[in-house]
């Protein structure tokens, strides 16, 4: 449960988009390393 909720819709959206961007970046990195691992 969130302890410190952002005050405005804009702040919530920005925060969520940052998490989404980080998740997608992590997914790309994961797929890269999985490909390397499966080839080795």
């Amino acid at each position: 449960m969130p302890d410190h909720k952002p005050q405005t819709a804009e702040q919530i959206r920005r925060s969520r988009n940052r998490v989404l961007a980080l998740s997608l970046a992590a997914f790309v990195v994961l797929i890269f390393f999985v490909s390397i691992a499966k080839m080795s």
Binding site: M1, K5, R16, L20, L30, F33, V34, A37
Partner: protein
């Protein structure tokens, strides 16, 4: 003794009685509320047992692939938990323990929750299939359907045996972890599945005994509500008795799969203590409305510690030779 069930709130999956939302300007979903949908505390036990299944397997897996397998198990469990909260939002709103969840609180709308859950479930199965194996992916998909459909939608509102049969959903992670590492199903992961299956009823019914009022209020036919406390206490005892030899079974398995003494002795000690707590719950009666239900709370707390310790012993046994 059979007791009349109170009328349930509107069927889960129906309209959420979130009157406080009427007229409010919808806010975008906060990522922390989406994260809360995945039931992180339950997920920690799922991740741990899945990891133990993976590590206890006789074949080693590449660390990156092992990490990916655990990530997929976590995503699948989180997606299934989110589906559960999407479906049960009405019921959650009526129980003190769950009323603070994001959907009943109106911090998250149902459509967003459902879509988030769907993406998590689909991504977890697809990634498991592509990166690890399609057998592991198939078992992961079955576990998600088992929890979200068989347990949440079908059994939970209909039968007091919901926990017994539905508990199988929580028993899948070590099986998936094992299959991810070895590529096949054998006797040991099935026994690990059976241990969690047998552990679930006493674990959950201990909780249901001291939150009985909440389940009764929303019409969920939990064992204490339908069959009464005395019957529930006896059944907790029966499952704890059966768990003792079952937990030690990996020590005596035929062939190369059996564990060593580290696991065997740990299982016997841990399960004997578990049985001791269960005996205290099984043979007592509620002293009155002010009963603090201390033995039930102790059994519930110990049951969590028990599962962590048992699976830790399984992994320790694999890596420590004596």
């Amino acid at each position: 003794m059979e007791q009349a069930l109170p009328q349930p709130l509107p069927l889960a999956g129906g309209e959420l009685k979130a009157a406080h939302l009427a007229g409010a300007t919808p806010m975008p979903a906060d990522w922390r509320d989406l994260f809360a949908l995945t039931k992180p505390r339950v997920m920690s036990l799922v991740i741990f047992t899945g990891l133990c299944g993976l590590l206890a397997a006789p074949q080693n897996i590449h660390p990156v692939l092992g990490f990916t397998a655990i990530l997929c198990i976590a995503m699948g469990a989180g997606g299934a938990a989110a589906l559960n909260q999407w479906w049960e939002a009405d019921l959650d709103a009526g129980m003190k323990r769950t009323a603070q969840r994001p959907i009943p609180q109106g911090r998250l709308d149902r459509t967003t929750a459902r879509d988030f859950a769907g993406v998590l479930c689909a991504a977890s199965v697809f990634l498991m299939g592509v990166a690890i194996s399609w057998l592991a992916a198939a078992i992961l998909a079955i576990s998600i359907v088992y929890y979200a459909v068989v347990y949440t939608i079908w059994l939970k509102p209909r039968t007091p045996q919901n926990i017994v049969i539905g508990g199988g959903a929580g028993a899948f992670p070590p099986l998936i972890g094992w299959v991810a590492a070895t590529g096949h199903i054998s006797l040991m992961p099935v026994v690990l599945f059976a241990i969690i299956f047998m552990w679930t009823p006493p674990h959950f019914w201990a909780l249901a005994l001291f939150v009985k009022t909440d389940y009764a209020k929303v019409g969920i036919p939990m064992m204490p509500v339908v069959a009464g406390e005395r019957s529930t206490r006896r059944q907790i005892l029966v499952y704890a008795v059966l768990l003792l030899p079952l937990s030690a079974l990996p020590w005596w398995l035929p062939g190369d799969e059996h564990t060593g003494a580290i696991y065997g002795v740990s299982a016997l000690v841990l399960s004997s203590v578990f049985l001791g707590f269960a005996v205290r719950v099984g043979l007592r009666e509620r002293t009155g409305p002010d009963d603090a239900m201390k033995p039930e709370k102790q059994l519930f707390a110990y049951s969590i510690l028990y599962l962590f310790a048992l699976f830790a012993a399984l992994v320790a046994d694999r890596f420590i030779a004596i």
